[in-house]
């Protein structure tokens, strides 16, 4: 009986994450300085990862975890590289 609640709630959770994505996209476009934009990108990929996990729950498919893990790994590398570039003016010295 309660399993129906989960399926009823999941689209709303996905909607909340889309809202969070839009807020961070707004900061990405608006952000007055470069660190702001990098932070917005960081938030964007984490929210996208969570949205993919929610989608995987909705579709009962465990395939989406691999995608989420890849996004997590590559997003972290992207954030580190961009911050390093701002910090030193070069990525690999």
């Amino acid at each position: 009986m309660t399993a129906g609640w989960i399926d009823a709630v999941l689209p709303w959770v996905a909607g909340v994450f889309v809202l969070a994505l839009l807020l961070s996209a707004w900061r990405l476009l608006r952000g007055p300085s470069l660190p702001d934009r990098i932070l917005a990108l960081d938030t964007l990929y984490i929210n996208a990862l969570a949205l993919l996990v929610v989608l995987g729950m909705l579709l009962r498919s465990s395939l989406y975890f691999e995608v989420a893990m890849l996004i997590g790994l590559l997003g972290f590398v992207g954030t580190v590289v961009l911050s390093k570039f701002l910090l030193r003016g070069d990525v690999i010295e």
Binding site: T2, A20, I46, N47, L87
Partner: protein, 104 residues
């Protein structure tokens, strides 16, 4: 037992979505970079961790459980402070006057 698991999942999902929205709202709303950094690095990480935990409970309940979500959550909790630290270092290079005075 299953009902208890469902209620726990529900609570985790709602809490997670709320915290993720709070983090992004803070990012969009606050007026200074050093204030904005708090939202995504703490609230969003907690929110996504809650959603990943809920997903793990759900897939355990639906009979195709795996440890992948825990792996993602662990990686996320490991990397969020590192990226926040690097971002602060980059921002302090840009605005050196924002650094607090050394003690003494």
């Amino acid at each position: 037992m299953n009902a208890l698991l469902d209620i726990l999942m529900l609570v985790l999902l709602v809490t997670g979505a709320g915290f993720a929205l709070l983090g992004s709202w803070a990012l969009a709303r606050l007026n200074d970079f050093f204030k904005r950094l708090h939202g995504p690095s703490k609230a969003t990480t907690l929110g996504v961790g809650c959603v990943l935990l809920a997903s793990m409970l759900g897939f355990m309940r639906w009979g195709q459980g795996s440890g992948h979500e825990l792996l993602i959550a662990f990686f996320l909790f490991l990397t969020a402070p590192v990226s926040a630290h690097l971002l602060v270092k980059a921002a302090l290079k840009r605005w050196p006057q924002a650094a607090p005075k050394p003690p003494g």
